[in-house]
Symmetry: C2
DNA sequence: CGAATAGGGTTGCATTTTAAAACCAGATTT
DNA sequence: AAATCTGGTTTTAAAATGCAACCCTATTCG
């Protein structure tokens, strides 16, 4: 059967994954952040099948993560550019990259280091912080009215 | 054909997505963070098919995001618990939640607010920061030696 | 004690997705 | 005018997904 969809889930993680939670979408967004804009470039850099790329780009455009703009005069050339919504995925992509570098380092390759354009210093880890900027773990947080945290549910779950 | 895998990709985002980049894995991790540990509980909270849940739990255990521990005396009851690697997905999950709440707010529901257990204050947004704690956007960063940022590639791409 | 039920799966089947490669059509280049 | 670039669509076969049914081991109930 088809993949289950969570468009109307009460869980915002589920709704987010609905838009960028498949195998390719975040990689497309990542490459868009590195400056890729053209169909053929995405295709070659990612090694993705063209039909799948079509589908993903269309879906990302539908969800307003990318916008498709005509370039060139006679309109048969396009660019896919990040929207604000798409650019707002930056922390997620970077956190994923850092997680991958930490826990699955490439055997023969230094982890990519991103740097601050202004100072040239390496970007520190993305973390969940309290209001003062101190790092928090999952144990340091709670959901107010949270005696039933698992009510933050996802699927059909008819009843609580 | 089969889904493409990125186990040995030079891109750490691709390697990360290889482990938690499908429709269900991050939701399983999310619920684990909220305290769910048992097969049946995951199944009911997520509304996921049992065989798929089996597969995902096994894969997450293989990848050391979860560990499977026997509970009860006679060993036919198990719990799936987060490892350090799994807990380290916290910023990603939270960033996804915040993104979903910001750009796809649930029609009839306030966004979940997470709070600092110590102070009771709401958790601020997860962001990419410079060394001083100032927020950075994708435009504020660069990859040193980065005249070919797209070399941060993913697929087969035989040559740079 | 025997039956029912809970926990944690596995199996079989129909439906979708995916990957890969072939094909297409409008611009642009040669 | 022919070749090429760009951005797709179509076709086909292999996997992945969802659902329901079945299994086996405890534990609980009568």
């Amino acid at each position: 059967m088809a993949r289950k969809r969570f468009d109307d889930s009460s869980c915002s993680v589920a709704r987010a994954l609905n838009e960028v939670g498949d195998w390719w979408s975040l990689l497309v967004v990542l490459h868009a952040m590195y400056g890729t804009r053209r169909f053929v470039d995405f295709q070659q850099e990612l090694g993705i099948a063209r039909n799948i790329l079509c589908d993903r780009l269309a879906r990302l455009v539908d969800n307003e993560v990318l916008k498709k703009v005509e370039v060139g005069e006679h309109g048969s050339r396009f660019e896919y550019r990040l929207t604000d919504k798409g650019r707002d995925l930056f922390p997620i992509v970077i956190a994923l990259r850092q997680w991958g570098d930490k826990w699955n380092p490439a055997p023969d390759q230094a982890p990519l280091d991103l740097r601050d354009r202004e100072t040239g210093r390496t970007i520190p880890r993305v973390e969940v912080q309290d209001a003062d900027g101190n790092p928090l773990t999952v144990r340091d947080v709670f959901v107010p009215n949270g005696d039933d945290a698992s009510r933050v549910s996802v699927g059909k779950k008819k009843t609580g």
